[in-house]
Assembly symmetry: C2
Homo-oligomer: 355 residues x 2
DNA sequence: CTTAGCACTCATTAAGGGAGAGTGCTAACA
DNA sequence: TGTTAGCACTCTCCCTTAATGAGTGCTAAG
């Protein structure tokens, strides 16, 4: 059944009001404050219909009405006035620039911006790199038997891993091995590292016959074994306590339940990875998979590198979320993230000085 | 005025009970449950004295009594049965080992252990390195004009900074510069980097006359300018929401006030740095400097490298904290942190292969 | 010095009773 | 047929009142 123009108008008014005030909306409020030129009785009739259709519920008989998840869904799908990329775009761009040099700081900064501007709890995932290609490998001596492996991807993203070797390798050999590995592995995807590639490369390398074979072998094993670590995604939050601003969570137990869920990075990351990778995804209330967040909405945006999604930013708040503002904000943010990432972390032809 | 043996016994019983239950303790409870062989009336007389002496207060006339900060101070200073290094020491050691290779992960892990074992909110500061000496410097090409600077200190701690250069430097030159910088700067304290040292070193280097002077100059300026960044301390939390378990914070506003304070890493770090650097420091209630935590206790332990304090771990909770357990736990933890750090991150004679 | 006894205090809880917000329904009106 | 005024009804919220009970301080006797 299609909703009449008037029903839509009333529904929108109710949703707006509820998002603002957080209290059940009565017919009189709508009739008066939103100058509909319609009496409260008429509004009541319409509201009664809207309730029957599943867009509204009454907390109790003599309360006003509250929008359902279905109503919010309708709202974000088009009922709210569509939002352009927000007015804060330039400001966001400026703040993002401040931490552009290092990817993780950049992402951390993104989360901070989002919660500062929206007053919800924000989060940001660092890039997944399994599809990234290696560009440069550098081994750095740390201590006698510890070696730092620095990986630079073609996206200019940097990863560190420390290895424990069974015996020490002198500096000049480390440099030679670094050059060798860079030459052999550059252009190879991180996700390919842990395959039979190792044997193949070892074969090639053995044919050159260097004097540090057995060490190189051990090194390769370690390198391959820890390859899956590079996929490890970090999650940053900001504004966890913002949740406590909303009357929905004035009950400590409710607040605790939600905060504990969010604070547990592992399960929350899992939940986020499950979210479909659309440019902008909005999950409202019971659309969420996990019980603890079925009264929340999660808005996430992706960021891409060369067209491939590598991470997500977003925020979580009560279903009564200021979607309009939030969406405008998150669009601005992800627009700027994408722009800056692709300016600063994009694939570049390998420098001729390599190898 | 000295407290009589009996007064001390009663006070200890009250504190224990209040730490356990979180509710004002009455004379009857003490007389009965702690089998003192003393009537409640006698206990009342003693409690009245203790109140006059500032060890107890009554929330209201007909409530039992609650220990004051002064009472907790007495308690931790010796009233509670002294704690040995706890029984979980081995378990802690095992868990710490899992993330031993990289300092920041190690510290993050420490915070996790602390909150998991105590159910309070824990925190851990990453090492301050201004007193650390450089051991190795490696420049790694990232993109055309971006260079990664990897610093390894004599403590085997690794720091990364990405620079933007005005022009590109080929790989082989980067290696030569790296070697040069390692040779010139190893043994130098990080805190010395931003001084006139630069000019001195440049002087020396100029005398060697390489072909890339102006780039090196730029690089040195960047390196020196960002030197203060190496001191930047990171703060990790764990179990933020544990605070919500305690009835003291069943009021959302109180919880929010505290959580916001703790969540603000900058000001909280500042607060922590102000704490005197004893092996074990306990700040009870109003002993804390900041208004927002004057109803909390903060227990911190330091960790050292070669006898120098480089960081802190600790936890925050209501003044009604289970000091006995907490102190035992944190002693175990810091003991193991110190042990492992000094095994894995201790100064080592520079390898002969350097330079 | 200790303790039994007792009056007193005060938080907590439950019950009762407006007040107010909002509804549903009906009947009249355009 | 849709709209609206009117009204009874419902239910929450808040205030008051009263009962309960935990715990105290004081006194007087042991």
């Amino acid at each position: 059944m299609e909703l009449s123009e008037r029903k839509l108008k009333i529904l929108r008014a109710i949703i707006s009001s509820y998002i603002q005030e957080g209290e059940a909306v009565g017919s009189r409020t709508i009739s008066k404050k939103h100058n509909m030129g319609i009496s409260s009785a008429t509004v009541r009739n319409e509201m009664s219909d809207l309730e029957e259709l599943g867009y509204l519920i009454q907390p109790h008989t003599s309360a006003g009405r509250v929008p359902t998840d279905k109503a919010y869904r309708l709202y974000v799908n088009g009922l709210m006035k569509s939002t352009s990329v927000g007015k804060y775009s330039e400001q966001i761009n400026r703040i993002l620039q401040e931490e552009i040099n290092e990817m993780n700081s950049f992402i951390k900064n993104s989360a901070r911006i989002l919660s500062n501007f929206t007053h919800y709890t924000s989060f940001a995932m660092t890039p997944q790199l399994k599809e990234s290609k290696l560009k440069h490998i550098q081994l750095v001596p740390v201590s006698d038997k510890k070696i730092l492996l620095v990986i630079v991807t073609e996206n200019n993203i940097i990863k560190n891993v420390v290895f424990n070797m069974s015996s020490s390798i002198p500096q000049d050999q480390l440099n030679r091995i670094s050059n060798l590995l860079t030459a052999k592995l550059s252009g190879v995807k991180l996700s390919m590292l842990n395959r039979e590639l190792k044997n193949e490369i070892m074969h090639e390398i053995y044919s050159i016959r260097e004097s540090f074979d057995e060490k190189l072998d051990e090194l390769m094993v370690l390198l391959m074994n820890t390859a899956n670590q590079y996929e490890k995604v970090e999650l940053y939050y900001n504004g966890l306590t913002n949740i406590l601003n909303y009357p929905e969570y004035s009950d400590t137990n409710k607040a605790k339940e939600l905060l504990s869920f969010v604070e547990d990075k592992e399960s929350f990351t899992k939940a986020l990875l499950n979210v479909e990778g659309k440019d902008l995804s909005i999950l409202i209330g019971k659309e969420n998979e996990f019980e603890q967040i079925k009264e929340c909405s999660i808005v996430t945006a992706t960021y891409k590198l060369n067209g491939i999604i590598i991470g997500k930013v977003g925020l979580i708040g009560p279903t009564r979320m200021d979607y309009k503002n939030v969406i405008s904000m998150i669009k601005s943010l992800s627009f700027n993230i994408n722009k800056l990432i692709n300016e600063n972390y994009t694939d570049i032809k390998r420098s001729e000085t390599d190898g």
